[in-house]
Amino acid sequence: MISLRTTERYIKPAIFVACCVPLLWLALRIFEVGSLRLGPNPVEDIQDALGIWGLRALCATLAMTPLSWAIGPLPIRFRRMFGLFAFTYASLHVMNYLLLDQTLAIDAIVEDIVERPFITIGALGFVAMIPLAVTSTNGWRRQLGRNWNRLHRLAYLAAIAGCWHFYWQVKKDLTEPLIYCTILAALLGARIVQNRRRAAPVPPTGQPRSPKRGHSAP
């Protein structure tokens, strides 16, 4: 069993650094450090890199709970960090879209959000992530109590929207978005199975479910 001390002192910082690597890599390519470069369409490169890492971090966030059923509560300690990285990457993804891709052309942005389903669903996903980032602190968590778990189910919505957004923009080859859809389906499916399993022994008297479910939300 890995001690709490090891977790906090080594594993968490290691994961933090790992989560920064894609961002650093992108920065090195943007600033053309050494022989690193973005491609002929740099704005698209940035858009895609930030989007895909946002979605990966979101999947990692949602993987911590099922992982904790398998190996014990340790992964729950990394969940918030993954979630905040997902939000960071998604925010930069949206910023890149607004500033570099659209150069703040408001008309075009509004048209995109209203008329392009893939942008609409992406925006929905991003909006869903905002309250999660805001209420990620211990203070908010205490204050919201049981409602915190309820609220943080929005993470499912954000992940589904992210996958859908990816799926809808592809021109022909759906392999990559389908990989993420499969991962997400597995993560959500695991929760359904687990909930059923937990629900089963409960006698049909309508009594409240075990309060121990507390940490099993997103």
């Binding site: 943007i30 491609g39 369409n41 698209e44 570099l100 150069t103 008329e115 080859d173």
Partner: protein, 318 residues
């Protein structure tokens, strides 16, 4: 656009990009500014008249608009699904491809059909140099200095009959050399088609090179179409078959997604792709901070080609 007569280019004759751009600058300033279509008299190679003093440069946006993209950009950012889906895949995987020897089969409604060697197709013609805007259906664009022959000049030699209403084209199928064909994302061979009037239009080019060198494999060696007023997917690469037909031929992208890609595929800022806007385009090579630029009807070639479509509903026939 710029059209310039040029003697046939030997494969060994490579123009360095910098020198090329210098020549360009002179030609642009010497040419007549017009409606997006600029003709310049031939002026290259040893023995030519020395260039006349250049008059005032063309309007700045015209000039900016036709500055060719770098050779590196043109040859590393390609949609050529036969070599893979990523824009970098063609440059990465096209090295194995053998573009010589090459034959083209000509069949259908024409008198002079058969299988012709590359030299027999290209040999009788003068290779011209044309700087065209290229607008991809994905809302990005480039400017490319192509070398090639007006397609109509080539087609006329096959003597199409009066029943030839369309011309269909096919790309080579060589899964051993083209990894994307092994993945089978599209229904290969890639097929494209034009009306006979579009095919015979003087702007339609059968390209054999760019920047004065033979077409790199990733750009569709050794023979490809360039139809500058249509989305890039119409400009079929590595052509091995040309068929004159009476009925409209099947085309790969409109078979794959008929609601997204039509037969005509004329560049049109007013008809959006179902999933994205076609009103503006990202000019490749414009850097991180450039705004997208407005897309022009028929990609700026409307004065020359809009007449081909009089009476046609361009919204329905996208």
């Amino acid at each position: 656009m710029l059209i310039r007569q040029k003697p046939a280019i030997r494969p060994s004759e490579i123009t360095p990009e910098s020198q090329y751009l210098d020549r360009r600058r002179f030609i642009r300033s010497a040419s007549l500014a017009g409606s997006g279509l600029l003709f310049a008299a031939g002026c290259s190679g040893a023995g030519d008249e020395p260039p006349a003093p250049a008059p005032a440069p063309a309007a700045p946006n015209e000039a900016a608009d036709l500055t060719p993209n770098s050779f590196a950009d043109i040859t590393s950012y390609n949609n050529f699904y036969e070599f893979g889906l990523d824009k970098g895949d063609p440059a990465r995987y096209a090295g194995q491809f053998k573009s010589q020897p090459w034959t083209v089969t000509v069949d259908g409604e024409a008198e002079n059909t058969g299988t012709f060697d590359f030299a027999a197709i290209v040999g009788p013609h003068t290779i011209e140099e044309r700087i065209y805007r290229l607008r991809c259906v994905e809302a990005w664009s480039m400017v490319v200095p192509w070398n090639g022959i007006p397609l109509g000049d080539v087609l006329r030699r096959f003597k199409p009959t009066s029943r030839a209403k369309f011309v269909a084209f096919e790309t080579v199928v060589r899964p051993a050399e083209m990894p994307g064909q092994r993945a089978g994302v599209l229904d290969f061979p890639y097929r494209e088609g034009l009306t006979i009037a579009e095919a015979m239009h003087p702007l339609t080019l059968l390209a054999t090179g760019l920047y004065g060198v033979d077409l790199p494999n990733q750009n569709g060696a050794p023979l490809r179409l360039i139809i500058p007023w249509k989305y890039g997917f119409k400009s079929i690469k590595s052509i091995v078959r040309i068929s004159f037909t009476e009925t409209r031929p099947r085309t790969t992208w409109s078979d794959a997604a008929p609601n997204e890609y039509g037969f005509y595929a004329n560049v049109n800022p007013d008809v959006d792709h179902p999933r994205w806007s076609q009103a503006r385009e990202r000019r490749i090579g414009s850097g991180l901070f450039a705004a997208k630029q407005p897309t022009l009807p028929f990609n700026g070639y409307g004065d020359d080609v809009a007449g081909l479509y009089s009476g046609l509903n361009l919204v329905r026939n996208f």
